[in-house]
C-alpha cells in the first residue's frame, strides 16, 4: 500500500472548487504515477486549469485533499513549490525586460549566483532557439517566442513534477512538434508531466494516461488506447488488385465477418470489425477465391470519437477538434 502511494507523483482525493454558485471542480480524484505523462483533456471551461491551480498551491481547494510526492499541498506549501514548476496559459514573464534579463532574475530567485544565473540564461536561450532575441524586450516577441521563453523560465532548474497548462495552444505545427520532443525529453530524464490540452491528438500522441474532464468532473480515465477501444469501432479496409473482384470480395467479407461490407470505391472494401480473429479466416477465404489484395489495414477509432462519445449531450459544440 505504502509502496504503491510512494510511486505516485500526485494523489488527489475529492478535489472541489466552487466559484460563486458554480462547482468549477466537482470531486476530482487523480493518481499520477511517477515518470509518466498525464493529460487532462477537456473543452474550455471544463475545470482543467482550476485543477492545476489547486495542485500548484495557487488556489486553495474548497474540499478534498491533494498530495505531491506525499506532501500535502495545503500544509506543506513551500515543500511542494520546491518540487514543481508551472507553465501557465499566458506567458508569466516581465514584458518590459529582455529574455535574458527575465531568465537571470528567475534563476537568481531560485538560488543561483549572479554569474551562474547569467550562464544558465544564455544556455536556455540557445536551447530554445531564442539566442537571437536574447536582448529584446518580451513586448517585441511573437506568440511562439513568448511560449518558448515561458517554458525556458520553467526549466531553469528541472523540477520532478512539471505542470504545463495548454503548452501547445496557438503554436504552429513545427513548434508544436518541438514542444512534444521537449516534453518527452523531460520525462526521459526523470520528470513527471501533467499537461492540459483541448487537442485529442496531442493527448493521444503524448500521454500515458488521460483523464477526460467535463463540467468539473472526470468522465473517464485510462490509457489513450483503452479509451479508444472502449468507445470506437475498428474498421477493416482492403485494397484490391483487380476491380472485377470487388463484388465477390464484398460478398465473402460480409459472409465471413457476419456484417455488411461496403464498397467506398471500385477497388476498396471496408467493414466494421468486432472480432479481429476473424480476419485470418477472411484472408484465407479470399485467397481460396483467388482474389488478390494490395493492402489490408485496420483503422483504430480516433480519440475524437471517444471524446465526443464520453461528453455526449453536454457541449459538443465547444470541443476544438484539430486535424
Amino acid at each position: 500500500m505504502t509502496e504503491q502511494s510512494s510511486a505516485l507523483a500526485i494523489e488527489a482525493r475529492g478535489l472541489v472548487k466552487i466559484f460563486g454558485t458554480k462547482r468549477a471542480v466537482d470531486g476530482v480524484d487523480l493518481s499520477v504515477p511517477v515518470g509518466s505523462i498525464y493529460a487532462l483533456l477537456g473543452p474550455n471551461g471544463a475545470g482543467k486549469t482550476t485543477i492545476i491551480n489547486m495542485l500548484t498551491t495557487l488556489l486553495k481547494p474548497d474540499g478534498g485533499s491533494a498530495k505531491v510526492f506525499r506532501h500535502d499541498v495545503l500544509r506543506e506549501t513551500q515543500v511542494v513549490r520546491q518540487l514543481i514548476s508551472l507553465t501557465g496559459q499566458s506567458a508569466a514573464v516581465d514584458e518590459k525586460l529582455s529574455g535574458h534579463e527575465n531568465l537571470t532574475v528567475f534563476a537568481m530567485l531560485l538560488g543561483l549566483g549572479r554569474s551562474e544565473a547569467n550562464r544558465r540564461a544564455t544556455e536556455l536561450l540557445d536551447e530554445f532557439g531564442l539566442a537571437g532575441a536574447a536582448n529584446q524586450t518580451i513586448e517585441k516577441y511573437s506568440g511562439g517566442m513568448r511560449r518558448r521563453l515561458d517554458l525556458a523560465c520553467s526549466m531553469i532548474v528541472q523540477a520532478p513534477l512539471i505542470f504545463l497548462d495548454e503548452p501547445t495552444t496557438g503554436l504552429d505545427p513545427r513548434t508544436r512538434l518541438q514542444m512534444w520532443d521537449i516534453i518527452r525529453g523531460l520525462v526521459s530524464t526523470g520528470s513527471t508531466i501533467v499537461l492540459t490540452t483541448q487537442y485529442l491528438d496531442e493527448a493521444d500522441q503524448l500521454a500515458d494516461r488521460v483523464a477526460v474532464i467535463d463540467q468539473g468532473k472526470i468522465v473517464a480515465e485510462d490509457t489513450p488506447r483503452n479509451l479508444k477501444a472502449a468507445i470506437g469501432k475498428v474498421t477493416l479496409r482492403m485494397q484490391l488488385a483487380n476491380e472485377n473482384d470487388v463484388e465477390e470480395a464484398a460478398r465473402i467479407t460480409g459472409e465471413v465477418l457476419g456484417t455488411r461490407a461496403s464498397v467506398p470505391d471500385p477497388r476498396q472494401v471496408t467493414a466494421p470489425l468486432t472480432n479481429s480473429e476473424k480476419v485470418t479466416d477472411l484472408l484465407i477465404a479470399l485467397r481460396g477465391a483467388s482474389i488478390r489484395l494490395l493492402s489490408v489495414s485496420m483503422q483504430e477509432p480516433t480519440l475524437d470519437e471517444a471524446f465526443l462519445a464520453l461528453t455526449e449531450g453536454t457541449r459538443q459544440a465547444e470541443v476544438t477538434v484539430r486535424q
Binding site: 495557487l58 508551472l86 501557465g88 514573464v93 537568481m108 530567485l109 528541472q158 520532478p160 526523470g190
Partner: protein
C-alpha cells in the same frame, strides 16, 4: 539531457523560508526593479522633472511675495521641495506596486519556492534609488539658483533624512497600493492624501503667516517637522529637536505600516 534528476520522493526539503533566503530574494526583486527602471526610464519622470520644475517655479513665483527676494526665499523653499518631491515619489511606489501585482509575472512568483514577501520588499528597496535621484536633483537646482548650505555635513545628513523618511512613509502608500482594486484608485487616494499634507505644512510658507485654525493643523502635520528638521540641518548645520522627532515618527510609521502592509499583501497574494 541524459543525466537523471533526483527523484522527487527522495528529496529532503524544508517547509519554511529562512531569513537569509528572504533577504536574498528581496535583493533579487530589487535588482529586477532596477532593471525595469533602466528599460523604461520614463518611470523616473516624477523624480527628475518635478524637482527641476518645482524648484524654479516656486522660487520665482513666491520668492518676492514671501521673503522679499528669490535669494531670501531659497532657505525656506529648498527644504520644502526636498520633502515634497520625496513624498510624491512615495505615491508612485504604491501605484507601481499595484500595477506590478496585476502583471502575469506575479503568477509565476506565486508558484515559485521563494519568500512570499519578496515581490513587495524588492520594489520598496529599489525605490530608495528614486528618492536619492529626487533629493540630489533638488540640491543641484537649489545650488544653481544660488542656495548655499551652512555645512556640507549638514547638507548630506539633510539629504539622508529625506531619503530615510520617504522610505518609511512609502509603506503607507504601499498599503494603499496593495488594498486598492486598481492602480488608478491607488493613484487617486494617494493624491488626495498628498496634496493637503504637502501644502498645508511648513514646506512653502512660514507657519506664522497662517490663521490660527490652520496653524493647528500644520502643527500636527508630520511633514512640518521633517521640513523644519531639514531646514535646521541645511541652514544652520545643526541637529535639532525636530530631527529626532522626524526619526522617531518615521520609525513609528514603519512599525505600524510594515505589518499592516505585509498582512494585506499575504491575504491577496
Amino acid at each position: 539531457m541524459t543525466t537523471q534528476i533526483t527523484p522527487g520522493a527522495e528529496r529532503t526539503l524544508r517547509n519554511r523560508v529562512s531569513v537569509r533566503m528572504t533577504i536574498s530574494n528581496s535583493l533579487t526583486m530589487a535588482y529586477r526593479n532596477l532593471l525595469l527602471i533602466r528599460r523604461t526610464p520614463q518611470q523616473l519622470f516624477d523624480v527628475t522633472l518635478q524637482p527641476i520644475l518645482f524648484t524654479i517655479m516656486f522660487t520665482f513665483l513666491f520668492g518676492g511675495a514671501i521673503s522679499g527676494s528669490v535669494q531670501g526665499y531659497l532657505p525656506i523653499i529648498i527644504p520644502g521641495i526636498l520633502a515634497q518631491t520625496a513624498l510624491t515619489a512615495c505615491i508612485t511606489t504604491g501605484v507601481q506596486l499595484r500595477e506590478d501585482m496585476d502583471k502575469g509575472v506575479f503568477y509565476r512568483f506565486k508558484s515559485m519556492p521563494i519568500a512570499r514577501i519578496a515581490p513587495l520588499t524588492g520594489p520598496l528597496l529599489a525605490d530608495v534609488v528614486r528618492y536619492g535621484i529626487a533629493t540630489a536633483l533638488t540640491f543641484v537646482m537649489g545650488y544653481l539658483l544660488g542656495f548655499r548650505w551652512a555645512s556640507l555635513g549638514g547638507a548630506v545628513l539633510g539629504g539622508l533624512l529625506v531619503i530615510f523618511a520617504a522610505w518609511c512613509i512609502s509603506w503607507v502608500f504601499a498599503l494603499l497600493g496593495v488594498v486598492a482594486p486598481t492602480s488608478q484608485v491607488a493613484q487617486g487616494i494617494s493624491s488626495a492624501i498628498l496634496f493637503p499634507l504637502t501644502f498645508l505644512s511648513g514646506a512653502f510658507v512660514p507657519t506664522s503667516t497662517l490663521p490660527g485654525w490652520l496653524q493647528d493643523f500644520v502643527n500636527v502635520n508630520p511633514l512640518t517637522y521633517i521640513v523644519s528638521a531639514i531646514r535646521q540641518l541645511l541652514n544652520q548645520g545643526t541637529i535639532g529637536f525636530d530631527f529626532w522627532l522626524s526619526i522617531i515618527g518615521s520609525v513609528a510609521v514603519v512599525a505600524i505600516f510594515v505589518p499592516l502592509t505585509l498582512m494585506a499583501y499575504m491575504r491577496k497574494a
